[in-house]
C-alpha cells in the first residue's frame, strides 16, 4: 500500500475531518463537509490586488501614527493626542501593563501584520518564492489576531462623544487614516489567498505523506 495523500487534501481545522478541496471557480469558496468551517477560496481579482491594497494600507498606517488623532479645546486651552499617545499616557499614569497592551493591539500588531504582508507579497512575486516567506506568513497570521484597529476606532468614537459633552473636540487627519485602514485590512484578508501561496512554497521532500488506510478519504466539500 503506497497510496499518497493528494496535495489538495486538508484536515478541517475545526473538526479534523479529512477531505479534498475540489477545483473552485473564481470567487468560489469551499466549506467543511461536516462542520461548515471555511476551508478555501479561489480569488477572482487580479493577482496583484493584495499587494496594491497592502501598500495603500501601509501608507494609511504611517499617516495614522504620525498625525494627530483628535484635538480638544476648552476655554482657550488646547490638547491633542496621537494613537501612541493613548498608550503612552496610560503608561505615565501608572497603568504600564494596560499601556503596553494598548500599544500592542493598536500599533505593533497591525504594523507588524502590514510589514510582514508587504515583505512576503513582494517576495512572492519571485518564482519559486523563497522559503523564508513561510515564516513571515505564519507570523502575519499570529499578529493579525491581536490587531484591533476596528475596535480602537469605535473606542475612539465613544471617547469623543463622551468628551464632547465637556469640551469641543475635533477629529484629526489620523482619524480618517484609521477609517481607511479599517476598510483596507479586511480587504487584504479577503483578496489574499494564503492557500495558493502555501502550495507554491516547496515542501521539504516534495512529496505528500503516505495515506493509511487508503480508503474513504475523498469527500467532496460543498461550496
Amino acid at each position: 500500500m503506497s497510496a499518497r495523500l493528494e496535495s489538495d487534501s486538508v484536515a478541517c481545522p475545526d473538526c479534523d475531518l479529512l477531505q479534498r478541496i475540489p477545483t473552485l471557480p473564481p470567487g468560489g469558496r469551499a466549506r467543511c463537509l461536516r462542520c461548515d468551517c471555511f476551508l478555501a477560496k479561489q480569488s477572482s481579482g487580479p493577482s496583484d490586488l493584495p499587494l496594491a491594497l497592502t501598500i495603500a494600507a501601509a501608507i494609511a498606517f504611517v499617516v495614522a501614527n504620525t498625525s494627530p488623532l483628535m484635538d480638544l479645546s476648552v476655554v482657550g486651552r488646547v490638547a491633542s493626542t496621537t494613537i501612541a499617545g493613548g498608550a503612552y499616557e496610560m503608561w505615565l499614569e501608572g497603568e504600564q501593563i494596560v499601556g503596553v497592551l494598548v500599544a500592542f493591539c493598536a500599533v505593533i500588531a497591525p504594523g507588524g501584520y502590514l510589514l510582514f504582508m508587504l515583505t512576503l507579497l513582494l517576495a512572492a512575486r519571485r518564482s519559486p518564492p523563497p522559503r523564508w516567506i513561510a515564516e513571515l506568513l505564519r507570523w502575519a497570521h499570529h499578529f493579525q489576531v491581536w490587531s484591533m484597529l476596528e475596535v480602537m476606532l469605535l473606542g475612539i468614537l465613544v471617547a469623543l462623544i463622551k468628551i464632547a459633552q465637556l469640551a469641543t473636540v475635533q477629529a484629526g487627519i489620523a482619524m480618517y487614516a484609521v477609517g481607511a485602514l479599517v476598510l483596507l485590512v479586511p480587504a487584504i484578508m479577503v483578496t489574499f489567498d494564503a492557500r495558493e501561496l502555501w502550495q507554491r512554497i516547496e515542501w521539504v521532500d516534495g512529496e505528500m505523506p503516505l495515506l493509511e488506510p487508503a480508503d474513504g478519504v475523498a469527500a467532496e466539500p460543498r461550496r
Binding site: 484536515a11 479529512l18 493626542t81 473606542g155 469640551a167
Partner: protein
Amino acid sequence: MTGATVTAAQVGLLSCDACQMLSRPANATEPGFCPRCGEALEVRHFASIQTTWALVIAAAVCYIPANALPVLNTTTFGTSEGDTILGGVAFLYTSGSWPLALIVLVASVMIPLGKLAALVYLLITVQRGSVASSHERTRLYRMVEFIGRWSMLDVFVDAFTVALVQLSPLMSVAPGAGVLFFAAVVVLTMLAAEAFDPRLIWDATNPHAIRHG
C-alpha cells in the same frame, strides 16, 4: 452520517495549525515542527482542557474587581470622582446617547460574561464526551473566537479619554485600578478561546479517536 468520516488523527496524520499542511510525524508523541512552515505540530492543542479551564477561572476571578473598581478617575477643580464600567454606561445613557450606552454595555458586560459561559459549557460537554449538537457547539466556539476582541472596546475608550483630557487644574482624567483587571479579563478570555481545541468537540463522535486531555 453516511459515507466516510475519517479524521486526520485517526489515520495518524497531523494538520499544521498555521499552514494546514498534512504530515505524518516519525514519532507520534513528539511530532516536532511543520516541514513547510516551522510551526510546532500538535495532534490536539497541548493540555487544551486544563489550560482553558485555568484561563477561564482566572478571567472569572478578574471579572469581579474589573466591575467593582473604578476604571477612570476624573478630577474637576480638585475634587476626584471614580467611574466604574457600569457607571460609564449609565453616564452615556443619561447624557442622551443610548445607542452608545448599548454598544458599551454589550461589549464590556455581555460579551465577557457570554464568553465565559460559552467556554464553560463547551469544556463541560467535551469532558462528559457529549456527542449531541456538535454543529451548534462548533458554531458557538467560532462566535466566541470572532466576537472576543470587541470587549477591548472599553480599554480603548479609557486610554483615549485619559490621553485627551489632561487639562489640569481645570479637569484631568486618570486610569483607575479596574482597567488593569478589565484588560486582564479580555486577554485571558481571548487566550482561553485560543487554547480550546474545537476538534475535541468532534473526537467523541469518532469511535477510534485518540483521546487527549
